[in-house]
């Protein structure tokens, strides 16, 4: 699972360099997120701009990634493509995450 972490000020932006987060990569995704968020800023933004498809296993893995970060740290989402956004809305998980239109918006909020 190709994830890339870059720190912008007080924000750790994790970009998913894959078109799918599905059952075949859900466990790798969760493990990679743990490795990339264990240290560094408490505010993490997951950039989903390249992800075109997510299934319920992938959705569960994103929730698990947030849970394993604990209460004192936050995981926001950014740049959801239409089909991914729809899955979050239909499952009501859009109410669980702060969702930003793009990565820059997520950075601005973090700085303010």
């Amino acid at each position: 699972m190709d994830l890339q972490s870059t720190t912008h000020g007080t924000t750790n932006i994790v970009s998913v360099n894959a078109e799918r987060i599905d059952a075949s990569v859900a466990i790798q995704f969760k493990d990679a997120m743990r490795a990339l968020t264990e240290e560094g800023p408490d505010h993490v933004v997951l950039d989903l701009g390249l992800v075109k498809f997510i299934d319920s296993s992938g959705l569960g893995a994103i929730v698990a990634a947030m849970k394993q970060m604990g209460k004192d740290r936050t995981l926001d989402l950014a740049a959801l493509t239409p089909d991914v956004d729809k899955v979050f809305r239909l499952t009501r998980m859009d109410s669980v995450f702060a969702i930003h239109g793009d990565v820059d918006g997520a950075k601005t909020r973090a700085a303010g």
């Binding site: 059952a23 075949s24 498809f53 299934d55 959705l59 929730v63 698990a64």
Partner: protein, 149 residues
Amino acid sequence: MTHARFSHQFTMSSLASNEEVRILLRRLRERLQEFGVTEPTCASAETVLAEALNNITEHAYADQQGGPIEVNTEIGMGKIRFTLCDRGMPIPGARLPRGKPQDTQVPLDELPEGGFGWLLIRDLTSSVTYDRDEDGNRLTLTLPNVSAA
């Protein structure tokens, strides 16, 4: 003509594993696009089929890799129907889950990490039927076929 409402039909075979399901979904979407099925319908179909095929892999075949899966697709005016056949274990009680929305207003450590699959299937389909016979399971998923604007 027994299926006059459907103008095209084709069948694809796959094997129960997460990787094979991913390949099947890509091939299916390509075929749907060749038949002129619109993007919204393709997207809904891929979500519904991903959830149903993951269930077959994880539950019917209980993560034993390589069991046969067959998907028959029928494309018609206004609707598209997928019939999924496998030789795995039956759905317990032969009863399809209703797919209740999860409670998201809960503490962080109680947030659901699963149980979204049937919610998505129920939301995106117009009908779901399930039959079990000596050959195995047959799940029929019908979706609205949204025409081009």
